[in-house]
Structure formats: structure tokens, C-alpha cells
Amino acid sequence: MIVPALILVAPWMAIVGIACVAVPIIIHLLSRRRRPPIAWAAMRFVLEAWRARRRRLQLQQLLLLAVRCLIPVVLGLALAQPLLSNDGLFGTSGTIVHLVIDNSMASGGLDDTGETPLDRHQAEAYAVIESLNQGDEVGVIPLSQIHQRHSIPAQRDHSAVREGIKRITTTHGPANLSQALDEVARRITSDTSQSHRVVLLSEFREGSGRIDEPLPPDLFQSDRIQLEYTAPATTSIEQVRIIDVTPLRRLALRQGGVESLASQSLVRLERDGEQLPETTTTLTAMSSSGRQTSRQVNWQGGVRDVVVDFLLPVDVEDGGVSPIRIEVGVAAPAQQRHLLVEMQDVLRVVILDRERLGRDQLPLELDSANWLQRALRPTTELPIEIRNIDPAAIVSGDLLDVDAVFLLRPDLLQTEGWRDIEAFHGHGGLVMVMPPGDRAVHGWTDTMIETMNLDWSFSPETQLLDPPEGLVVTDSDDSVLRIIGAELPNLLEPVEVHQILEVDPGLGGSVSLRTDTGRPLLVTESKPGRGTLLLLTTSPRLDWTSLPAKPLMVPLIQESLRGGLHLGRGKQSIVVGRPLLQSEQDWTHGELRHPDGTSILLDDSEAVIDRPGSWLLIGENGVHDGRIVANVDPTGGDLDRQSAEAVEAWLAETGSWSVMNEQVKAAGPGRSLVWILLSILAVLLVLESLLSRWFSPRGTDAMSTIGYAGATS
């Protein structure tokens, strides 16, 4: 119920209070009616006294009656919990309330009370709506906007909004406060004629938005916008989150003695909380076939994050892509990760080198193809098929079903051949280029740069290194040699480089190995799903380098092959809540299907994967076309609390926010007048008491009577 700009939370109490005005009037009337008239002899003195006091008495009676009538009215109004609108007492326009509700991953955890922060936010939202005027509008913007359907435009149908809020559930995505506030600002901009009130309901744990994330500056600067937020959480919650699970090989060979690499992974864990006691957590992983592995992780006191190796339950027998789920703790969204491991029976490699007839045979020390083949297939058991093709004779069909191409004579590759190589590379293939050992001038580099769209730059001539230079390893996470990183120093030590093709890899390439004077030896440029390009700047023949005859050669080539394929294959993983367009996938048609039956059409440009798990990619023809795993952004599940001061300063970037306390929650969009009315009531009660005492005639005992009670004069 509304009096202009005055909101009554319990209007019926005000009605009762107003109705009670009749009580003193009725009492007054009853007191006048019940007595019969007194026949009075000294009427002239009564009349004289009445005339003398009439005006004063009437004024007193009116004043007293007014005070007595006001008492129930003010009491009723106070019990009705009136709220004064921000428009002031005489404001006439309504208020649009924008409820920004934190439904992110961080608001989904049960606490000691058995309820989630989202439950509390919903209750607070109901309270705010309850306090609104019927003319006020209210809308809802979820802080984690994975479920766009939960966004409710501002409307006067409060019950519909309440129903909408009831349907809000926690998402598996992080909160995006910046986006939510932008949406609020957009809504405010669309209707500037009314007052706006923004209520941000969140516990402001780090998962709900880190205070170092930038917010739109000065977003709400109007005086007609009231900004409130709930006080940040004060309780600490202990939990362990899985930040990342990295298999050493995303692609592995089933046989050949290296399949165990596919089972190895590195798991990065992080602890939330403030105590960080010495404790133990259990890490478990489960394959789709039900195989399970687990390990204990011992936390030292005060340690917040740790990286542990973990043996994954890879389904070697099944082949293909193996989805694995890793869990820690109670398996909240941030405590689960999904990953795919791809197993292959054989790797198919093409070596592009000039085909030599018998008379063209090179001496062994100068036959780079021979050295390469030996490194690629050091034993006959290793399932790697090698095919030699002359660069001048290559056609696109030669690269079908091939995993890697080693280009030993790029100088012989025609432009068309380069295009085929680029296409192969663009589909996730591995291309490893080595300079031709017979050439001192390398004009092919320009063609490669142009075709492969590189920002590299080459020195056109072979550089003779005198004295020969040794090799050093470059510390890089992207290195294809990461797995053998520990052994590399020893392996590099005996290797010398005599000739080299100097290259500047620009911003796109990363250097895994250098000479000890800093010249790049192994350069990698890779994009997930877009293949890997490796450049060995020395030719694998002994007049260029001693590498072919050293122990480093085999692991270098093997890791370049596997590591290159690992990097070049698509990550096959996307982040829950991020639009598919941003996930660097090629899929544009078909659908993604979750094991629980949820389906997402890829044609939808705004399609968002809203839950973690292993999704099947179904092509347009309804055929299984692949698999992808979706994982939550682990930062979204960070339950570390943030200080109230920091949150206040953070929000202050956008406008002048104030903490919504309990009274404000109840008061809604205006200031509560309860205490003011109770004060007025107290004053009225005191006034009534005083006026009653002052205006009421004093008793006979207190007044002197005239002295004629029997006396003479």
C-alpha cells in the first residue's frame, strides 16, 4: 500500500490505527451520553464560569482530542513499518529495482546451516520485493549469466519476478560482475525518468569476482541511482580445488613401450581457506569404463597450492578417445576436472626428401633422411610408419591420414606443395622443417613465411659456426621437449653445431633449444587445433652438427613428433560458460550432447556450454564426430573471502555503493520511518499525559473551596 512516496510494509496496521481514532471519540461521546441532566440552582454561575472558560476549554479539549486521536494513528503507522521513498515524501515516480543475484559456482556450496549462499540471496531478494511499492518495477540480473533465461526484465508483476527468482540455480560458471553491471547500466539508461535502485546480492568470495578485476568505471553516477550490496562473507570455508590436470601426452601410441606416458598427468591443486592446516586429501580419477585410480595428497601447513603427478585410468583397450573424470573432496564443480586422452595404434610419418637413385646415394654422415629415419624408428616394434616422398612430387592426397611431415628439402617444394603442407598443418598436423644441407643460400624461407603466414625472419645464408657451438635448453612450458626436460642438459652436452640457419621467430614462435651463443636451434609455433610447426635450424647431418650421432637425436625427434602432435591437436576442452565462439573450435554445425541428455546446437552463435562433462559432437548427418570435455573455470569456485574494505573500494569504481544492512533490507527502497514514528509516539504519549494533567481540573482536595460550608459572614 502506498501513500505518495510512502510505503507501508504492513498497511493493515495503519488501517487499524486510523480506525482506532474512533476510540477516543466514542469514549468522549459515551461519556457525554450516559449521565442524566442535573437540575442546578446556581446555573447563572455555571454559565458565567463556562463563558469565562469556554474558549480555553474548547481549545484544550480539541488539543487533547487531537493528541489522543493521533496516538493510535501514529502507533498504527509505526507498526505498518512505513518507508519513505528516496523520491521524498512528495515524490510521485516509482522506483525500478535491479536485483543482481550471485548464482555463480561460489554461491552453491552448502554451509553449516545447510543452506547455500544462493538460498540466502533469494530470501533477501524476496524481502526486497516484499518491501516494494506496487508501482515499483523489479528486474533480476544473475551474476553468472550462463542461464540467460534467468535474467528477468524489470516489471511490475512482483509475483512473476518472485517465481523467476525461485527458479534461479547455481551455475557452473564464474560470476561476471562487470558484465552484470553493464547490463544494469543498460537497463537504467533505457529509462532515466525514474529512480533506480541496484541491489547486489553476493558474498563476494573470490569466485564471485576478484577485487583486482577491473569494473566499468563511473558506471552509476546519477543521484537517482541508489546502489546497495550485501556485506561480504565473514566466514572462511576450507576446500581443495583442481586447477588443472595436464596429461603428459594427449595423444599416445598403444604399443611400443611408451604407452604409459598417456597415463601420466600433472594435477595442480589449490586450497581455499585461511587456516591451511596440515592435512591429506584424496585425488581420484575414473574412466568411462569404470576404471579408477586414486592417490593421497599430503598438504603441509600453510601451503596453498601444489602440483602432483597422478596416474590416470586410461582405457588402453578401447582405443579412441578416453574421457576421464578427476575428483577431489566432495566433488563440487571446482573439485572436478574432465579430460580426454587419445590413443592411436600407429603414427604415420612422411619424410619429404629428394628421392635418390643408386648413383645419388649420399655418404651416411651426410644423409639426413637416413639419420631421421633411424631416430623416428629406432626399433622395429615402435608403431611408426614412415613414407618417403619427393617434395617435387607431392600431392595433397599424399598427406591424407598422415600425422606428421618432416620436410628435409624445403628448397625443392613448389608453391603448390607448400599450400598442401599448410593445409595439412592447419588441420592439426605436425610439420617439422629442416634446412637442406646442400644449400648455402636459402631462398625457400620466404615462400614458407608467406605460405605458412609466419612473422619469422631468416638469414638467407647458412652460418658457419667456428668454433662450433654447444646447445642449451630454454625454459618453456610450451616446449615439445618438456617431458625430457630433466635429462636434456646431459643429452645436450656432447652436441656441437657447426652450421646453422639463423632465424628470428618473432612473437609467434618459441625457442626450445638454442646454441650457447643464443641462436635458436629448435623453434616451435603451435596453435591448439591448428597444428604444430617445428623448425630445426641445423640439418641432421654430421657436417652441420654432431647431433645425429649423439644420444639426443632419438629423444629429440621422438619428443618433437609426440610433443608436436600433443600441442597441435585441439585441446578438446572448453570452459563452461564461455561462448563456443570463443573456444577456438572449428565446429559450426551439428550439436553437442551431454550424457544427461542436454543438447546444444552449434548453429547458435550465442550457444554456451553450461555444465561440465564429456560432450559428444554429433555432426549434421547425426554421426558421432568427436568428443569434447567441458570444465569449469576453477577460479569461479574460489571460496576465499575478501575483506569488506577491499570490496567497498572495488565497487566504488562504478559508483557510490553502500552496504545493505538488515534495516535497509526491510526498508527496501526508502528510509524507515519506524523509529521516527515511535519517537513521535513517545512525545505524543508524554504530551497527552502532561496535557491531561494540565487541562484536567484539579481534584477537590487539591483546590481550595470557598469558605461557606456552614460559616457565617
Binding site: A41, R44, V46, L47, A52, T705
Partner: protein
């Protein structure tokens, strides 16, 4: 005849009831004395201004037409050729005329009637001891006392004029006649003192003590005018103002509706709120009457219906006795 006898005996019983033993015991030590010298036809305790029949010479004064020629002092006329009248003083009998107000305002009373107090028509109707009852009791007591002193006592009941008269006489039968005449009730209309005074002074030309028993709630100017006329006729007046305790205290607990007994007016008011002003007005009124009486040398006594008749009258008579003795000694 039998009904008349019944009424007479009934009146006697009421009269005796009015003369309660405590009243008589309180009045007995005193004699009714006139402050002013009244003309008496019977020898009594009162000094008579009756010259010519006196035993004690008082003074000479000049003759005025109309004077009794028997009182001419011929010796003085012979010596000085002036007509001089001799005046004497002697103890005379006293004529007491009771002027009892029976106007509507006397119907008011708040004291519940108790057994043995006697009753009038008024008390029977009102169910309480009215001011008229108190006036009757006072008048009966005074008449009894006067008759005991062999004075002549007369009664005039009045309201806006004379309503009833008992001629002056002495003897026990007179007292019963007075009591019987007072066995009435107040009339419905108010008091007209001016008219009443005119009628009374037209009937009684000789000196007497007029005992005015009334609530005197009329216009002060009217009261002043009436008393001035008595004074002009050199009459002694004893003003007994009978008021009810409620009128004097104006003590009420809550709002009331007042209906005027002599004034056609109703008023709803909380008496407590006007009590102070009321008491001031009433006090001014009573004090005004007192001043008027003092001005004319009359006695004024306010009688409370809730108090006994005896003590108040006793104090008044004692005061008059003392005053008279001092006057004589002077």
C-alpha cells in the same frame, strides 16, 4: 374535618421533627434580639423605639406633620415656642417576620434524607434534603425561639411574589400554623425579590426583624435594591443564605449536563474544568451580598444544607447578643 385534623397532627409531627433536640439545645442559650430597635406592642426583652408610651425618656425632636400630638412636649413649646416631640425608650416585644423563599432554586439538594429529620413536599419529591427543607428547618427553629420569648412571629412564603402568609401572632398555636404553612413545596418559577419586597413592606409598616431565608441566587443588584428598601423603612433584616454543599464545593467527578432550575438553559460541561471560575463567581456573589448587608447593618449568614441548623444559628444569635450588650454599654 377529620382530614383537616389529620393534616394538622401530621404537620405537628413534622414540626417537632424539624426541632431536633440538638437544634434546640444549640439555640436555647440565646435570645433572639434585634440589633435595631423595633417597635413592640408587648413588653418583652427588646428595646422599643416607641416614644410616648415609654418609661424612659430618650430625646426631643422636631415636630413633623403627622406626629401624634399627644407626644408634644408642651413645656418646651411654652418656653421656646417650638413644636417638639418627646421620644422615649422602653423594652418592647419583638415582631419577627420570616421571609421564606420557595422559588424553584430551593428545590435543589444533595443530602440524602435521614429518618427523623422531618420532611416537606420538596424533600418527598426530590428524594433529598433540599435547600427549601433547610430553610424551613431554620425558619421553624427561629419561630420556635421567638415564640418562646413571647415575640410575635409571622411568616411570608414568597417566590416571584408572596405565595403564602401567616399573620404575626404569639402563642404555641402560632408555631403550629407556621409549620403547617411551611409544609409546602417550592414553586416552578424563580424569585422576584423586588416585587416581594414591595409587597412585604406594603403589608408590614411597623418595625420588625425580617428574617430572609433564601439561597439569594438572584441578581445582586436586585438583592441590593431589596435590602436598600428594607433599610429605607428602617427595618432590621437577617439574611440567611441557604446553599447546598454541592453548590458551595462544586465537586464533580466527570462531565455533567446541567439543567437550570430557574434558567431555561442546559449546558454539557466538565464541571472540573470550570470549577475554579464557578467558585470565584459564587464567592464574588456571596461576598457581594455580605458587603451589601454590612453596608446596611444587616446580618448575613451562609448556611450549608449539609450542616446542622443549630450551630450556625447559635453563632449568629450569640454575635447579635454580644453586639447588643456592647451597644447598650456604649
Amino acid at each position: 374535618m377529620s382530614s383537616e385534623g389529620d393534616r394538622s397532627s401530621q404537620a405537628s409531627r413534622r414540626a417537632e421533627a424539624y426541632l431536633a433536640p440538638e437544634t434546640l439545645s444549640q439555640l436555647a442559650p440565646f435570645e433572639l434580639r434585634a440589633r435595631m430597635i423595633v417597635e413592640g406592642v408587648r413588653s418583652g426583652l427588646h428595646r422599643s423605639p416607641h416614644q410616648g408610651m415609654a418609661v424612659e425618656f430618650d430625646q426631643h425632636r422636631g415636630y413633623v406633620p403627622g406626629d401624634d400630638l399627644r407626644h408634644l412636649d408642651w413645656k418646651v413649646f411654652g418656653r421656646s415656642d417650638r413644636l417638639t416631640i418627646k421620644q422615649y425608650q422602653q423594652e418592647t416585644n419583638l415582631d419577627v417576620v420570616l421571609l421564606v423563599d420557595a422559588s424553584a432554586s430551593l428545590r435543589f439538594g444533595t443530602l440524602p434524607v435521614k429518618e427523623g429529620w422531618g420532611e416537606t413536599e420538596a424533600s418527598r419529591i426530590m428524594g433529598s434534603w433540599t435547600k427549601f427543607d433547610h430553610a424551613v428547618a431554620t425558619s421553624v427553629a427561629l419561630s420556635w425561639l421567638a415564640l418562646q420569648q413571647s415575640d410575635r412571629v409571622g411568616l411570608i412564603v414568597f417566590a416571584d411574589g408572596i405565595e403564602g402568609v401567616v399573620q404575626r401572632a404569639s402563642g404555641q398555636g402560632q408555631w403550629r400554623r407556621i409549620v403547617s404553612a411551611l409544609n409546602t413545596r417550592p414553586v416552578e418559577h424563580g424569585t422576584n425579590l423586588t416585587k416581594t419586597t414591595e409587597q412585604v413592606l406594603g403589608r408590614i409598616t411597623n418595625r420588625a426583624i425580617f428574617v430572609l431565608v433564601s439561597d439569594l441566587l438572584t441578581d445582586p443588584e436586585e438583592i441590593h435594591s431589596a435590602l436598600a428598601r428594607f433599610r429605607h423603612h428602617r427595618q432590621d433584616v437577617l439574611c440567611l443564605q441557604v446553599l447546598d454543599q454541592q453548590e458551595i464545593s462544586f465537586d464533580f467527578s466527570g462531565p455533567e449536563q446541567f439543567q437550570g432550575l430557574e434558567v431555561e438553559r442546559r449546558l454539557k460541561v466538565d464541571p472540573r474544568s470550570i470549577r475554579e471560575a464557578y467558585l470565584e463567581a459564587l464567592g464574588r456573589h456571596i461576598d457581594g451580598i455580605g458587603s451589601t448587608c454590612t453596608q446596611f447593618g444587616y446580618d448575613h449568614l451562609v448556611m450549608n444544607t449539609h450542616s446542622s441548623v443549630g450551630p450556625a444559628l447559635g453563632r449568629l444569635l450569640a454575635r447579635r447578643s454580644i453586639w447588643l450588650k456592647r451597644h447598650r454599654a456604649g
